[in-house]
Amino acid sequence: MARVIARFGLVASLTLLQGQRPPANPQQTFRAGTDVVMVDVSVKSGDRVVTGLGPEDFVLTDNGVRQRIESVESTAVPIDLTLVIDLSGNPDRPWTRRIDHSKVVADVQREVQEVTSILRPTDRIRLLAIDQYVQQIWPLQQVPATPIPRVEFDGLASVFDTLAAALIRPVEPARRHVVIARTKGVDTISAIDARALRGIAERSDALFHLVIMENALGADAALSGFQSNLIGLVEATNRSWLPHQRRLVSSGPPYQLLSDGIAVRSAVETAGGGWHQARAFSVPSLTGTFRETFESFRQGHMLRYTPQGVTRSGWHTIAVTVPRSRGYTVRARRGYGIEDSAPAPAPTVPAVPKTLADLTLAYEAGAFQSVATALRQIADPQRLMRDFEEEGNPWPAAPRREAGFAIELAEPGVFSPRAETRDQALRLLNRFTRLIRQPLGPDVFERQWYYTVLTLLQGTINPPALEAFADLALARFPDEPRFLLARAIAADQRSTTAGASRVAATGSSQTALETVRRQYEALIGMPAVAAEARVRLAWLLHRIGRHDDALARLDEVDVEPLDGSLRYLQHLFSGHVMNALGRPDDATVAYRAARAIAPDAQSAQVALMNGLLARGDRAGAETVAEVIQRQRSTDFDPWWMYWQGQYRLYGQAMARIREMGR
């Protein structure tokens, strides 16, 4: 395995150096041509692992030019293991259709447990499965205690796609990524081919081992086909009828490598991994392969050098030998690639972007506020969105940035008074709910993207649209409290036919309110949203006349000190509830507390004024009325945004998306 610490090329490798010594400006660090390459090397003498070698023991050439090895370090760093198992076709008994799902799961569980027993506490594992779709059974985690959930199997084979998904994972600082995959060597449905997989493997930082078990199941398949086609006793189960099978090895003895297999084996060996194929009646096991790999890796060496005398960009062939002992077997990565590092001249960012080209340019340059401001002033966001969809992704290498930009574009659209513009904005967002999906399952960006969209849609007070997106988000993240809260808020918005005013409560059906109440009640048990759920539940209870219950909920609120909006609402609502309970003195105390949190907010002032008048303090009420009329305008009033749910957090959420899209 080689790690090229370079600005271009193996971008993921940057993380390692950052982990060692975080550069203040990564781009500056690597622009000066001080790229560092790190190569993992395994040295064996027969079956014995050779350890304790130093820089002087190795000879390393980069594109034929001998390099000075700066250091040889231990590779006993924590590893991230990606296990890939092939469940396509019938992995168990190919001669019968009586497939027992629980047995398949149990077999996988047992085999994976054997592997995890080798891992150290600092290591992590994730589990992928090859079938018709790329399945991520476990995301990357410490040795899991949870059982394997339901898996899909007996489908078509997406071998190349799944292996690519395993290899493209960036390596975290001070960790190593090891991919061990076991496959039958038959691909039927992948979007990429073996050569594309080879390209990905060459650029991956993963140590890639592939276990081929074709001969064993190939025999089963042959038996199955024989029975079904000639004897007619049982039904064929393997997918031999499928067109366009791409095989890595031939289907019968001597199981020769076919062209796809040659490409993949080349990829494996270039990446410094191993090709493990059955010989005679010996079938390599997943556990055995990992044990061997792990031991070799753990006792291996990491060579570090700075390339000298070679052209920086392009493919670098590396060769590592231990000259003093020609009997040693040295396994190392065979090369790495660096794309052209010549930086493109920075384009001029327009001061006031207006066209899509200007906006994308400004966005790319990080002028997010200019873009947001300009978009809100554009008269025809519909046209802009249409252009964006027709012209495609302006940043093909940065899909996250594109997904973030889509929200920016949609924002003025969802607030548009024109129904067709709003619809187009929602369609745009909807399209990206598919584009942001990672094949291996939901990731951090997708979660943040949904959160941002949901905060935005809460601001539009368009419950059907909000509900639709909340459902999409929950389909991906079923237990995410913020998404559950968004759905509850949508139901709350829907329950108030007039929206913001308290008069609205009269138009709500009891059934609808009860539905909302239950949703808020359920959220109280989720710390991330409990405070907000309590405040909203209290307001709902007050609206339906359950003032004592409302007060109890408000008293329970434990709001983070920084969320002034919730604390303001807590006091404001307490005042209303106190008034309803015939406690005007307590109400004015609560209103004053709200005013203390946001002195410029009007709602607490008005409530206090009304409360003082109700108590008979006319002079006090007049004083507050005077303040209200003379107060400088401010748009910050948490009450004004109450029905817009968590729209108050949209700016923060969007800032995070922008950061993730950089």
């Binding site: 809100r376 924002e411 003025p412 969802v414 607030f415 548009s416 008074p417 024109r418 601001g459 539009t460 007070i461 368009n462 036919t497 007039a498 929206g499 913001a500 005013s501 308290r502 008069v503 609205a504 138009g507 404001l572 008034n579 009007q602 709602s603 607490a604 008005v606 409530a607 004024m609 009304n610 008048l613 109700a614 008979g616 006319r618 002079a619 009420a621 007049e622 507050v624 009325a625 005077e626 209200i628 009329q629 003379r630 107060q631 305008s633 748009d635 009033d637 009450w639 004004w640 029905w643 817009q644 729209y647």
Partner: protein, 312 residues
């Protein structure tokens, strides 16, 4: 309600100007000492119209029947068109009011200003979600005109909050209070509930009149926040406003696109000015709490418009 003493009573029973006679009221800069000995005086504005909606003049105290919490009262005195007027004009400048309407409003308010007498004054409030007084009580027509030219429309609407604030605002007790709201009757973000507003109306003394356009150039939302406001502005509050206006002795004057707004504002002022001011000392009723009022005249076919009660 605090009923500890005359001064407190006067401050708390804010809806009524209390005096024994109109002559006592005029020309007093400091009013409280005057009223300390007149704690039981109640003042009621009453507009009297015949079947043709013309103002009925030349009525005397004996022509009025005032019933306070079900108990008939003796009217001690009446005045007609003598007290100075403070007019508060509150204009809805939320997203639903276009620039064209704003210009018409500017002209209408200018006309209203010219209709005021020398001793009358006008205050101007603009409201969307904010309630902002841009001109305090003044007789300077140019100042009002300049101020209204600065108005721009946009934002959500806190109509009930604006009404409450206008009612509570301090006003001189020796002047009659007319509050004219120009609004489309929608509210999206007020913190004041209708029942709270009723309480405020009962405890203050201004007469509320609403000039409500039905379909005058509603402007579509153009910004993010106004878009959301449009979504929540779903329920017009016309019935609530009618009830509040009636509570204060005022009315709702609907206008349409062809209505001369200046004429409408002038009509509101004329109607208010042509009201009688009745003075009586409540007898036979408990002092504290809400007093329901009923005012009639002993004239065939005449109708009376007066506030429906006051808070003591």
């Amino acid at each position: 309600m605090n009923s500890a003493g005359p001064t407190v009573w006067f401050a708390a029973a804010s809806l009524m100007v209390c005096a024994a006679a109109p002559g006592i009221l005029s020309g007093r800069a400091q009013q409280q000492p005057t009223f300390r000995s007149e704690i039981n005086a109640v003042v009621v504005d009453a507009s009297v119209r015949d079947r043709s909606r013309r103002a009925v003049t030349n009525l005397r105290p004996a022509d009025f029947v005032v019933i306070d919490n079900g108990v008939p009262q003796d009217v001690d005195n009446v005045s007609y068109g003598k007290l100075p007027i403070d007019v508060t004009v509150a204009l809805d400048v939320s997203y639903s009011v276009t620039g064209v309407v704003l210009e018409r409003l500017r002209r209408a308010v200018g006309q209203l200003m010219r209709e005021l007498r020398r001793e009358d004054r006008l205050k101007l409030i603009l409201f969307n979600m904010h309630v902002t007084r841009i001109v305090d009580f003044t007789t300077d027509a140019d100042a009002v005109d300049r101020a209204i030219r600065t108005a721009t429309a946009g934002g959500a609407t806190a109509l009930l909050d604006a009404i409450s604030t206008a009612l509570v605002s301090a006003s001189a007790p020796d002047r009659r209070q007319l509050i004219v709201f120009f609004t489309d009757g929608n509210d999206s973000i007020s913190v004041t509930a209708p029942d709270t507003l009723t309480m405020v109306a009962q405890r203050t003394r201004g007469t509320l009149t609403f000039v409500m356009p039905s379909l005058i150039n509603r402007r579509p939302a153009s910004s993010a926040t106004s878009g959301a406001s449009r979504q929540v502005s779903l329920r017009p509050l016309a019935p609530v406003l009618s009830a509040i206006a009636a509570e204060t002795g005022g009315t709702v004057l609907p206008v349409d696109e062809g209505t001369d707004l200046a004429g409408a504002f002038t009509r509101v002022l004329d109607d208010f000015r042509s009201a009688y001011v009745l003075y009586y000392n409540p007898r036979g009723v408990d002092r504290g709490g809400y007093h329901r009022l009923e005012v009639r005249v002993k004239r065939e076919g005449a109708t009376v418009q007066a506030r429906r009660g006051y808070w003591f």
